[in-house]
């Protein structure tokens, strides 16, 4: 079961070693950052069955934490990362506490509404460029090292990707992960056994948001720029597409989905400016014919 993800990580690690140049490293950096965000969404959507249409919100919160601390000249990851993750986690705790009172379509709409609030809130931050966005003075340092700099970013993104994959894998296999999966399968049964599904799901949302906040820190550094678009509903939709295309419930599937979406956008964009005309129908076909997503397809061989 771990063959495919390990192969995937090995291939990603080979890119800088083999000296693959051109646009590839930048494109894959972007895909890996999205991969981290998509895995965090997969944890609640795939394992927990919580279809959040607002997962771009913690991404934007993480990115704007970098920008705001940058303005205050606080640029070390030792401060930036915990603050970004905590802010994203608190956001999920408050909004999740409300959203989890609902199910199904209402949950989707409420998470979307909360994410839109974040989007408009950061759009109105005049000190941080408002709708135009904000360019960072400098990238985030790690204990004074330039590990998130342009030259090192690829490796940093890969390390975070692998660590997050490992952490989410452990949590999914734990008692907590089992309770979360059970709550998706049969909520009434879980309750009758004596587990409060609400608390389990809320904790899962906080964990997912914290990881997505970390992805937001990476995203801000990768572009050296933050914009409200990080928190747009289209971005939330992109993340859902990545998870579903990759195969909901599969962590490495989420990475594959992120790779597919980022590469497809770029590749089709080079082909024609009307690329969404190909991308859209392509997505529909993928959902119709790729049951279990890319990960499911690979598993069946």
């Amino acid at each position: 079961m771990t063959r495919i993800p390990l192969l995937l990580f090995a291939l990603l690690a080979l890119v800088p070693v083999a000296g693959v140049g051109g646009f590839w490293p930048l494109l894959l950096e972007r895909a890996m950052v999205f991969g981290v965000a998509a895995m965090s969404l997969d944890f609640i959507l795939g394992v927990g069955g919580l279809v959040s249409f607002g997962h771009a919100a913690p991404l934007a919160i993480g990115a704007y934490t970098v920008a705001i601390l940058n303005e205050m000249r606080v640029t070390d990851a030792v401060v930036v990362v915990p603050v970004a993750m905590a802010a994203s986690g608190v956001f999920a705790l408050v909004t999740g506490a409300v959203a989890l009172r609902t199910r199904g379509i209402n949950f989707i709409m409420i998470t979307l509404a909360f994410a839109q609030m974040v989007y408009f809130a950061v759009s109105s931050l005049a000190d941080y460029g408002g709708e135009d966005g904000y360019t960072l003075y400098s990238r985030t340092q790690v204990l004074g090292h330039d590990w998130l700099g342009a030259r090192n970013f690829y490796v940093a993104a890969l390390v975070v990707l692998v660590v997050v994959w490992g952490v989410l894998r452990v949590i999914t296999a734990s008692r907590f992960g089992r309770a979360l999966s059970a709550a998706r399968q049969n909520r009434a049964r879980v309750q009758a056994l004596g587990i409060d599904p609400y608390r389990v799901e809320l904790a899962a949302m906080v964990i997912a948001a914290m990881i997505c906040g970390l992805a937001g820190v990476l995203m801000a550094n990768e572009a050296e720029f933050v914009t409200p678009a990080y928190g747009s509903w289209q971005r939330s939709g992109d993340l859902m597409v990545m998870v579903i295309l990759g195969g909901a419930g599969s962590l490495h599937g989420a990475i594959l989905g992120a790779l597919m979406v980022v590469l497809a956008e770029e590749g089709l964009g080079r082909l024609t400016q009307h690329w969404p005309l190909i991308y859209g129908p392509g997505l529909i076909l993928a959902v119709l014919f790729l049951r279990g997503g890319l990960a499911g397809r690979l598993r069946r061989g």
Binding site: S181, Q185, G194
Partner: protein, 244 residues
């Protein structure tokens, strides 16, 4: 478990109209009654899905009338559902291991893998052996036959080491052979915990029950041993009334 003066109205209709019921430890207590007698609403109140207008439910000395369903379960109330309720994607063993985990209140542990955890699998396997499903432990639960799903539910209830087990029509949909095996299993529960059995199969009820309460129009119209209930004219009237 002691239920006193329980009342629930839906508009003008008193669905539960002052129900008193005591389930003794170790006994099988059957709850019977014609359709529309209020059994489902009464069960809903015992499990916290429906809130009573008045009255009290006490479990092992604690008032649980207003507790959330999962809190009641933690205090020792286990159940099977009228429509079989399992975790379809989990294996048989994982289903029961989850019940053990829920009982131990350890669902907020994030590191150790649950799959090979002997502290979960040991008691789970013991419960599966008790219901005769141990050799099916690796099967995905959705692939079980109807009767086996019933056995699995029973194992999940047992694994929680309940004070009171509520079985909502455990024989519904079971074939004659399956029913026979389930009746044998239920008979074996006597002494383990108190059982509140809601069942339409009268032959099974009279074989299994130590006590029977008869519910009609939201009230307990009779209570006693199977022999006493069989002879009770009010019970006969309630059932004949339904048919006639």
């Amino acid at each position: 478990m002691q239920i006193t003066g329980l009342r629930k109205r839906y508009g003008a209709l008193a669905v539960t109209d002052g129900v008193d019921l005591a389930v003794r430890p170790g006994a099988i207590h059957a709850l019977i009654g014609p359709n529309g007698a209020g059994k489902t609403t009464l069960i809903g109140q015992i499990f916290g899905a429906v809130h009573p207008d008045a009255g009290r439910i006490v479990l092992a000395g604690r008032d649980i009338t207003r507790l959330a369903p999962h809190r009641r379960a933690r205090l020792g109330l286990a159940r099977s559902f009228q429509i079989t309720s399992i975790l379809p994607e989990f294996s048989v063993l994982e289903n029961v291991a989850l019940a053990v985990q829920a009982h131990s209140g350890s669902s907020f542990r994030f590191l150790r893998p649950a799959r090979g955890d002997a502290r979960l699998n040991g008691p789970a396997l013991a419960a599966l052996e008790q219901v005769g499903l141990a050799d099916r432990r690796g099967v995905v639960a959705r692939a079980l036959s109807h009767g086996e799903k019933r056995q699995l539910e029973l194992a999940m209830a047992l694994a929680a080491q309940p004070v009171v087990m509520l079985l909502d029509e455990p024989l519904a949909g079971a074939g004659p052979e399956e029913a026979e095996r389930l009746i044998g299993l239920l008979d074996g529960l006597r002494g383990h915990c108190a059982v509140l059995l809601v069942e339409h199969d009268m032959a099974a009820v009279f074989r299994l029950a130590d006590e029977i309460s008869v519910l009609a129009q939201g009230r307990v119209i009779a209570h006693g041993t199977p022999e006493a209930i069989r002879a009770d004219p009010a019970v006969r009237a309630a059932y004949l009334g339904e048919e006639g």
